[in-house]
Symmetry: C2
Subunit: 211 residues, 2 copies
Protein backbone atom coordinates (compact mmCIF):
# COMPACT_ATOMS: atom_id res chain seq x y z
CA UNK A 1 0.00 0.00 0.00
CA UNK A 2 2.49 2.65 1.22
CA UNK A 3 5.38 2.21 -1.18
CA UNK A 4 6.80 5.64 -0.27
CA UNK A 5 6.82 5.00 3.46
CA UNK A 6 10.49 3.99 3.54
CA UNK A 7 12.41 6.80 5.24
CA UNK A 8 15.05 6.99 2.54
CA UNK A 9 18.05 5.68 4.51
CA UNK A 10 19.50 2.21 3.93
CA UNK A 11 17.49 -0.42 2.01
CA UNK A 12 14.74 -1.58 4.33
CA UNK A 13 15.80 -4.88 5.95
CA UNK A 14 13.62 -7.84 5.18
CA UNK A 15 11.36 -8.73 8.13
CA UNK A 16 12.25 -11.89 10.02
CA UNK A 17 10.36 -14.97 8.88
CA UNK A 18 9.35 -13.34 5.65
CA UNK A 19 11.19 -14.95 2.76
CA UNK A 20 11.71 -13.36 -0.65
CA UNK A 21 8.67 -12.43 -2.61
CA UNK A 22 9.43 -13.91 -6.02
CA UNK A 23 7.64 -17.18 -6.75
CA UNK A 24 10.84 -18.25 -8.48
CA UNK A 25 12.55 -18.49 -5.10
CA UNK A 26 10.03 -20.82 -3.56
CA UNK A 27 11.73 -23.87 -4.97
CA UNK A 28 10.20 -27.04 -6.26
CA UNK A 29 7.20 -28.46 -4.47
CA UNK A 30 6.19 -25.09 -3.05
CA UNK A 31 2.54 -25.69 -3.86
CA UNK A 32 2.50 -29.01 -2.06
CA UNK A 33 4.40 -27.52 0.87
CA UNK A 34 1.85 -24.72 1.18
CA UNK A 35 -1.01 -27.18 1.04
CA UNK A 36 0.57 -29.33 3.72
CA UNK A 37 1.19 -26.28 5.91
CA UNK A 38 -2.37 -25.13 5.34
CA UNK A 39 -3.69 -28.49 6.44
CA UNK A 40 -1.50 -28.44 9.54
CA UNK A 41 -2.45 -24.89 10.43
CA UNK A 42 -6.18 -25.46 9.97
CA UNK A 43 -5.87 -28.69 11.98
CA UNK A 44 -4.08 -27.08 14.87
CA UNK A 45 -5.73 -23.68 15.02
CA UNK A 46 -9.10 -24.13 13.38
CA UNK A 47 -10.44 -21.98 10.58
CA UNK A 48 -10.83 -18.71 12.48
CA UNK A 49 -7.33 -18.53 13.88
CA UNK A 50 -5.53 -19.62 10.73
CA UNK A 51 -4.10 -16.81 8.57
CA UNK A 52 -2.63 -16.73 5.10
CA UNK A 53 0.48 -15.24 6.67
CA UNK A 54 0.71 -18.12 9.15
CA UNK A 55 0.36 -20.69 6.38
CA UNK A 56 3.02 -18.93 4.31
CA UNK A 57 5.40 -18.75 7.23
CA UNK A 58 4.96 -22.43 8.06
CA UNK A 59 5.65 -23.29 4.42
CA UNK A 60 8.65 -20.98 4.27
CA UNK A 61 7.22 -18.85 1.46
CA UNK A 62 5.78 -15.39 1.09
CA UNK A 63 2.06 -14.88 1.70
CA UNK A 64 1.82 -13.55 -1.86
CA UNK A 65 2.75 -16.98 -3.14
CA UNK A 66 -0.09 -18.55 -1.18
CA UNK A 67 -2.45 -16.05 -2.79
CA UNK A 68 -0.84 -16.72 -6.17
CA UNK A 69 -1.42 -20.47 -5.98
CA UNK A 70 -4.74 -20.60 -4.15
CA UNK A 71 -6.51 -17.24 -4.09
CA UNK A 72 -8.37 -16.52 -0.85
CA UNK A 73 -8.26 -18.17 2.55
CA UNK A 74 -11.50 -19.97 1.64
CA UNK A 75 -9.82 -21.38 -1.46
CA UNK A 76 -6.83 -22.63 0.53
CA UNK A 77 -9.22 -24.15 3.05
CA UNK A 78 -11.14 -25.89 0.27
CA UNK A 79 -7.92 -27.25 -1.21
CA UNK A 80 -6.75 -28.44 2.20
CA UNK A 81 -10.10 -30.11 2.80
CA UNK A 82 -9.94 -31.80 -0.57
CA UNK A 83 -6.53 -33.13 0.27
CA UNK A 84 -7.88 -34.40 3.62
CA UNK A 85 -10.75 -36.06 1.85
CA UNK A 86 -8.54 -37.68 -0.74
CA UNK A 87 -9.09 -41.09 0.82
CA UNK A 88 -12.78 -40.48 0.24
CA UNK A 89 -12.13 -40.35 -3.47
CA UNK A 90 -11.65 -44.09 -3.43
CA UNK A 91 -15.25 -44.48 -2.29
CA UNK A 92 -16.50 -45.20 -5.79
CA UNK A 93 -13.95 -48.02 -5.92
CA UNK A 94 -15.24 -49.27 -2.58
CA UNK A 95 -18.75 -49.06 -3.93
CA UNK A 96 -17.90 -50.62 -7.26
CA UNK A 97 -16.26 -53.83 -6.03
CA UNK A 98 -18.67 -56.67 -6.57
CA UNK A 99 -21.68 -54.50 -7.30
CA UNK A 100 -24.02 -53.56 -4.49
CA UNK A 101 -23.70 -56.90 -2.70
CA UNK A 102 -22.05 -56.17 0.63
CA UNK A 103 -21.74 -52.49 -0.22
CA UNK A 104 -22.86 -51.50 3.30
CA UNK A 105 -20.15 -53.51 4.98
CA UNK A 106 -17.42 -52.34 2.60
CA UNK A 107 -18.38 -48.72 3.18
CA UNK A 108 -18.58 -49.09 6.98
CA UNK A 109 -15.21 -50.88 7.05
CA UNK A 110 -13.61 -48.29 4.83
CA UNK A 111 -14.95 -45.39 6.86
CA UNK A 112 -13.95 -46.83 10.25
CA UNK A 113 -10.52 -47.62 8.79
CA UNK A 114 -9.96 -44.01 7.76
CA UNK A 115 -10.91 -42.79 11.24
CA UNK A 116 -8.92 -45.46 13.07
CA UNK A 117 -5.75 -44.34 11.28
CA UNK A 118 -4.32 -41.35 13.19
CA UNK A 119 -2.74 -39.94 10.02
CA UNK A 120 -6.08 -39.65 8.25
CA UNK A 121 -8.08 -38.92 11.39
CA UNK A 122 -6.33 -35.66 12.34
CA UNK A 123 -7.18 -33.68 9.21
CA UNK A 124 -10.75 -35.00 9.23
CA UNK A 125 -11.15 -33.85 12.81
CA UNK A 126 -9.85 -30.44 11.82
CA UNK A 127 -12.38 -30.17 9.03
CA UNK A 128 -15.25 -31.25 11.26
CA UNK A 129 -14.25 -28.84 14.02
CA UNK A 130 -13.81 -25.92 11.64
CA UNK A 131 -17.08 -26.58 9.84
CA UNK A 132 -19.02 -26.79 13.09
CA UNK A 133 -17.78 -23.51 14.44
CA UNK A 134 -17.38 -21.34 11.37
CA UNK A 135 -20.03 -20.66 8.76
CA UNK A 136 -17.49 -20.03 6.00
CA UNK A 137 -15.83 -23.34 6.68
CA UNK A 138 -19.23 -25.04 6.76
CA UNK A 139 -20.06 -23.51 3.38
CA UNK A 140 -16.80 -24.69 1.86
CA UNK A 141 -17.40 -28.18 3.20
CA UNK A 142 -20.96 -28.47 1.89
CA UNK A 143 -20.28 -26.73 -1.43
CA UNK A 144 -16.90 -28.00 -2.49
CA UNK A 145 -16.63 -31.32 -0.79
CA UNK A 146 -19.82 -32.93 0.49
CA UNK A 147 -21.90 -32.20 -2.58
CA UNK A 148 -19.29 -33.66 -4.93
CA UNK A 149 -18.73 -36.66 -2.74
CA UNK A 150 -22.42 -37.42 -2.33
CA UNK A 151 -23.06 -37.03 -6.03
CA UNK A 152 -20.21 -39.36 -6.80
CA UNK A 153 -21.62 -42.00 -4.49
CA UNK A 154 -25.18 -41.39 -5.69
CA UNK A 155 -24.13 -42.00 -9.29
CA UNK A 156 -23.32 -45.59 -8.36
CA UNK A 157 -26.70 -46.30 -6.80
CA UNK A 158 -29.88 -47.66 -8.28
CA UNK A 159 -32.50 -46.35 -5.84
CA UNK A 160 -34.87 -43.38 -5.87
CA UNK A 161 -33.34 -40.18 -4.41
CA UNK A 162 -29.82 -41.61 -4.42
CA UNK A 163 -28.20 -38.42 -3.07
CA UNK A 164 -30.59 -38.33 -0.14
CA UNK A 165 -29.82 -42.01 0.52
CA UNK A 166 -26.10 -41.39 0.30
CA UNK A 167 -26.37 -38.48 2.73
CA UNK A 168 -28.37 -40.51 5.23
CA UNK A 169 -25.63 -43.13 5.16
CA UNK A 170 -23.03 -40.38 5.53
CA UNK A 171 -24.92 -38.87 8.46
CA UNK A 172 -24.69 -42.10 10.40
CA UNK A 173 -20.98 -42.38 9.81
CA UNK A 174 -20.43 -38.72 10.73
CA UNK A 175 -22.35 -39.26 13.98
CA UNK A 176 -20.32 -42.34 14.86
CA UNK A 177 -17.09 -40.44 14.20
CA UNK A 178 -18.21 -37.62 16.46
CA UNK A 179 -19.32 -39.76 19.41
CA UNK A 180 -16.42 -42.21 19.13
CA UNK A 181 -13.48 -40.04 18.15
CA UNK A 182 -14.38 -36.50 19.23
CA UNK A 183 -16.65 -36.74 22.28
CA UNK A 184 -15.20 -40.19 23.10
CA UNK A 185 -18.47 -41.31 24.65
CA UNK A 186 -18.53 -44.85 25.97
CA UNK A 187 -19.26 -47.59 25.15
CA UNK A 188 -18.84 -46.58 21.49
CA UNK A 189 -15.44 -44.99 22.08
CA UNK A 190 -13.75 -48.26 23.00
CA UNK A 191 -15.95 -50.70 21.10
CA UNK A 192 -14.21 -53.15 18.77
CA UNK A 193 -14.34 -51.68 15.24
CA UNK A 194 -15.62 -55.01 13.92
CA UNK A 195 -18.59 -54.82 16.24
CA UNK A 196 -19.49 -51.37 14.98
CA UNK A 197 -19.09 -52.47 11.37
CA UNK A 198 -21.32 -55.50 11.95
CA UNK A 199 -24.12 -53.34 13.36
CA UNK A 200 -23.87 -50.46 10.92
CA UNK A 201 -23.36 -52.40 7.68
CA UNK A 202 -27.01 -53.53 7.34
CA UNK A 203 -28.17 -49.93 7.87
CA UNK A 204 -25.94 -48.60 5.11
CA UNK A 205 -26.89 -51.54 2.90
CA UNK A 206 -30.57 -50.70 3.30
CA UNK A 207 -30.11 -46.98 2.63
CA UNK A 208 -28.00 -47.53 -0.45
CA UNK A 209 -29.79 -50.42 -2.11
CA UNK A 210 -33.37 -50.93 -0.92
CA UNK A 211 -36.31 -48.93 -2.19
Amino acid sequence: MSGTASSGTAPEPRRRGRPRRSPGDAGPGARERILQSARDEFSERGYDKTSMRGIAKAAGVDAALVHHYFGTKDDVFAAAIEMSFEPALVIPAVLGQGGTDGIGERLARYFIGVWENPATRAPLLAVVRSALTNETAAKVLRTFVLRRLLERVAAELDVPDPTFRAELAASHMVGIAILRYVIKAEPLASADPERIIAMVAPTLQRYLTQE
Copy 2:
Protein backbone atom coordinates in the same frame (compact mmCIF):
# COMPACT_ATOMS: atom_id res chain seq x y z
CA MET B 1 -8.62 -6.99 45.41
CA SER B 2 -7.45 -3.40 46.01
CA GLY B 3 -9.88 -2.23 48.67
CA THR B 4 -7.58 0.64 49.65
CA ALA B 5 -7.16 2.00 46.15
CA SER B 6 -9.98 4.55 46.53
CA SER B 7 -8.42 8.02 46.60
CA GLY B 8 -10.34 9.08 49.69
CA THR B 9 -12.87 11.50 48.15
CA ALA B 10 -16.51 10.53 47.68
CA PRO B 11 -17.62 6.90 48.20
CA GLU B 12 -16.27 4.89 45.28
CA PRO B 13 -18.97 4.59 42.66
CA ARG B 14 -20.01 1.05 41.90
CA ARG B 15 -18.64 -0.06 38.56
CA ARG B 16 -21.18 -0.16 35.76
CA GLY B 17 -22.77 -3.55 35.25
CA ARG B 18 -21.49 -4.89 38.57
CA PRO B 19 -24.37 -5.17 41.02
CA ARG B 20 -23.96 -5.55 44.77
CA ARG B 21 -22.08 -8.53 46.10
CA SER B 22 -24.43 -9.84 48.77
CA PRO B 23 -26.46 -12.89 47.66
CA GLY B 24 -29.38 -11.31 49.52
CA ASP B 25 -29.57 -8.61 46.86
CA ALA B 26 -29.88 -10.99 43.96
CA GLY B 27 -33.61 -11.25 44.36
CA PRO B 28 -35.84 -14.24 43.78
CA GLY B 29 -35.12 -16.52 40.85
CA ALA B 30 -31.43 -15.56 40.78
CA ARG B 31 -30.34 -19.15 40.30
CA GLU B 32 -32.64 -19.61 37.31
CA ARG B 33 -31.55 -16.26 35.88
CA ILE B 34 -27.90 -17.26 36.16
CA LEU B 35 -28.59 -20.58 34.48
CA GLN B 36 -30.45 -18.90 31.65
CA SER B 37 -27.64 -16.38 31.20
CA ALA B 38 -25.10 -19.18 31.26
CA ARG B 39 -26.97 -21.00 28.53
CA ASP B 40 -27.18 -17.85 26.43
CA GLU B 41 -23.52 -17.01 26.93
CA PHE B 42 -22.33 -20.53 26.10
CA SER B 43 -24.66 -20.57 23.08
CA GLU B 44 -23.41 -17.28 21.71
CA ARG B 45 -19.74 -17.40 22.59
CA GLY B 46 -18.93 -21.06 22.96
CA TYR B 47 -17.20 -22.62 25.95
CA ASP B 48 -13.80 -20.98 25.58
CA LYS B 49 -14.98 -17.39 25.35
CA THR B 50 -17.58 -17.60 28.10
CA SER B 51 -16.47 -16.34 31.52
CA MET B 52 -18.03 -16.54 34.97
CA ARG B 53 -17.90 -12.74 35.05
CA GLY B 54 -19.76 -12.52 31.73
CA ILE B 55 -22.46 -14.90 32.95
CA ALA B 56 -22.82 -12.93 36.18
CA LYS B 57 -23.07 -9.64 34.32
CA ALA B 58 -25.72 -10.96 31.95
CA ALA B 59 -27.73 -12.24 34.92
CA GLY B 60 -27.31 -8.97 36.81
CA VAL B 61 -25.54 -10.58 39.75
CA ASP B 62 -22.05 -10.70 41.17
CA ALA B 63 -19.66 -13.37 39.92
CA ALA B 64 -19.36 -14.60 43.53
CA LEU B 65 -23.00 -15.57 43.42
CA VAL B 66 -22.42 -17.68 40.32
CA HIS B 67 -19.61 -19.45 42.15
CA HIS B 68 -21.83 -19.76 45.21
CA TYR B 69 -24.62 -21.47 43.32
CA PHE B 70 -22.64 -23.54 40.80
CA GLY B 71 -18.97 -23.80 41.73
CA THR B 72 -16.63 -23.79 38.74
CA LYS B 73 -17.16 -22.83 35.11
CA ASP B 74 -17.36 -26.56 34.28
CA ASP B 75 -20.16 -26.95 36.81
CA VAL B 76 -22.11 -24.06 35.32
CA PHE B 77 -21.59 -25.53 31.88
CA ALA B 78 -22.83 -28.93 33.05
CA ALA B 79 -25.92 -27.34 34.61
CA ALA B 80 -26.59 -25.33 31.44
CA ILE B 81 -26.21 -28.47 29.33
CA GLU B 82 -28.59 -30.37 31.60
CA MET B 83 -31.15 -27.61 31.16
CA SER B 84 -30.66 -27.77 27.39
CA PHE B 85 -31.15 -31.50 27.46
CA GLU B 86 -34.28 -31.31 29.61
CA PRO B 87 -36.43 -32.26 26.63
CA ALA B 88 -34.32 -35.38 26.41
CA LEU B 89 -35.53 -36.41 29.83
CA VAL B 90 -38.87 -37.27 28.31
CA ILE B 91 -37.15 -39.92 26.21
CA PRO B 92 -38.10 -42.72 28.59
CA ALA B 93 -41.71 -41.61 28.18
CA VAL B 94 -41.23 -41.68 24.41
CA LEU B 95 -39.74 -45.13 24.73
CA GLY B 96 -42.36 -46.37 27.15
CA GLN B 97 -45.48 -45.61 25.14
CA GLY B 98 -46.85 -48.82 23.75
CA GLY B 99 -43.77 -50.90 24.52
CA THR B 100 -41.12 -51.32 21.87
CA ASP B 101 -43.57 -51.45 18.95
CA GLY B 102 -42.87 -48.38 16.86
CA ILE B 103 -40.17 -47.23 19.24
CA GLY B 104 -37.88 -46.31 16.32
CA GLU B 105 -40.43 -44.03 14.76
CA ARG B 106 -41.38 -42.36 18.04
CA LEU B 107 -37.74 -41.69 18.83
CA ALA B 108 -36.93 -40.35 15.35
CA ARG B 109 -40.01 -38.12 15.41
CA TYR B 110 -39.23 -36.82 18.87
CA PHE B 111 -35.61 -36.09 18.00
CA ILE B 112 -36.39 -34.30 14.74
CA GLY B 113 -39.08 -32.32 16.56
CA VAL B 114 -36.60 -31.05 19.14
CA TRP B 115 -34.21 -29.94 16.40
CA GLU B 116 -36.93 -28.41 14.21
CA ASN B 117 -37.97 -26.15 17.08
CA PRO B 118 -35.63 -23.11 17.10
CA ALA B 119 -36.07 -22.65 20.86
CA THR B 120 -34.68 -26.11 21.62
CA ARG B 121 -32.27 -26.18 18.68
CA ALA B 122 -30.15 -23.19 19.72
CA PRO B 123 -28.91 -24.55 23.05
CA LEU B 124 -28.29 -28.00 21.54
CA LEU B 125 -26.19 -26.40 18.82
CA ALA B 126 -24.23 -24.56 21.48
CA VAL B 127 -23.53 -27.78 23.33
CA VAL B 128 -22.45 -29.60 20.18
CA ARG B 129 -20.19 -26.75 19.11
CA SER B 130 -18.59 -26.38 22.52
CA ALA B 131 -18.03 -30.10 22.93
CA LEU B 132 -16.45 -30.42 19.51
CA THR B 133 -13.93 -27.68 20.07
CA ASN B 134 -13.13 -27.89 23.75
CA GLU B 135 -11.97 -30.99 25.61
CA THR B 136 -13.41 -29.81 28.94
CA ALA B 137 -16.80 -29.28 27.36
CA ALA B 138 -16.58 -32.69 25.68
CA LYS B 139 -15.79 -34.28 29.03
CA VAL B 140 -18.75 -32.60 30.69
CA LEU B 141 -21.02 -33.75 27.91
CA ARG B 142 -19.91 -37.37 27.97
CA THR B 143 -19.67 -37.62 31.75
CA PHE B 144 -22.66 -35.67 33.01
CA VAL B 145 -25.10 -35.89 30.18
CA LEU B 146 -24.57 -38.58 27.57
CA ARG B 147 -23.79 -41.36 29.99
CA ARG B 148 -26.90 -40.72 32.09
CA LEU B 149 -29.08 -40.34 29.03
CA LEU B 150 -27.83 -43.51 27.37
CA GLU B 151 -28.18 -45.50 30.58
CA ARG B 152 -31.72 -44.25 30.99
CA VAL B 153 -32.62 -45.36 27.48
CA ALA B 154 -30.70 -48.61 27.84
CA ALA B 155 -32.69 -49.49 30.97
CA GLU B 156 -35.83 -49.65 28.83
CA LEU B 157 -34.34 -52.04 26.29
CA ASP B 158 -34.37 -55.80 26.14
CA VAL B 159 -31.37 -56.53 23.89
CA PRO B 160 -27.76 -57.49 24.56
CA ASP B 161 -25.44 -54.49 25.08
CA PRO B 162 -28.31 -52.02 25.42
CA THR B 163 -26.06 -49.01 26.05
CA PHE B 164 -24.05 -49.73 22.91
CA ARG B 165 -27.32 -50.06 20.97
CA ALA B 166 -28.65 -46.82 22.41
CA GLU B 167 -25.45 -45.03 21.50
CA LEU B 168 -25.51 -46.34 17.92
CA ALA B 169 -29.04 -44.96 17.58
CA ALA B 170 -27.89 -41.69 19.13
CA SER B 171 -24.94 -41.50 16.75
CA HIS B 172 -27.24 -41.60 13.76
CA MET B 173 -29.39 -38.82 15.12
CA VAL B 174 -26.37 -36.73 16.04
CA GLY B 175 -25.03 -37.13 12.50
CA ILE B 176 -28.35 -36.11 10.97
CA ALA B 177 -28.49 -33.04 13.21
CA ILE B 178 -25.00 -32.03 12.16
CA LEU B 179 -25.46 -32.45 8.42
CA ARG B 180 -28.98 -30.98 8.37
CA TYR B 181 -28.84 -28.18 10.94
CA VAL B 182 -25.17 -27.26 11.29
CA ILE B 183 -23.48 -27.94 7.94
CA LYS B 184 -26.83 -27.56 6.15
CA ALA B 185 -25.79 -30.01 3.46
CA GLU B 186 -28.37 -30.73 0.77
CA PRO B 187 -30.53 -32.63 0.12
CA LEU B 188 -30.87 -33.50 3.82
CA ALA B 189 -31.01 -29.86 4.91
CA SER B 190 -34.30 -29.17 3.15
CA ALA B 191 -35.78 -32.66 3.16
CA ASP B 192 -39.29 -33.04 4.59
CA PRO B 193 -38.92 -34.15 8.23
CA GLU B 194 -41.45 -36.94 7.60
CA ARG B 195 -39.25 -38.36 4.89
CA ILE B 196 -36.27 -38.47 7.22
CA ILE B 197 -38.34 -40.06 9.97
CA ALA B 198 -39.66 -42.71 7.57
CA MET B 199 -36.13 -43.70 6.53
CA VAL B 200 -34.48 -43.55 9.93
CA ALA B 201 -37.21 -45.17 12.05
CA PRO B 202 -36.50 -48.75 10.88
CA THR B 203 -32.79 -48.26 11.65
CA LEU B 204 -33.47 -47.12 15.21
CA GLN B 205 -36.05 -49.87 15.60
CA ARG B 206 -33.48 -52.48 14.63
CA TYR B 207 -30.77 -51.11 16.93
CA LEU B 208 -33.06 -50.86 19.93
CA THR B 209 -35.06 -54.04 19.63
CA GLN B 210 -33.46 -56.70 17.44
CA GLU B 211 -30.72 -59.01 18.61
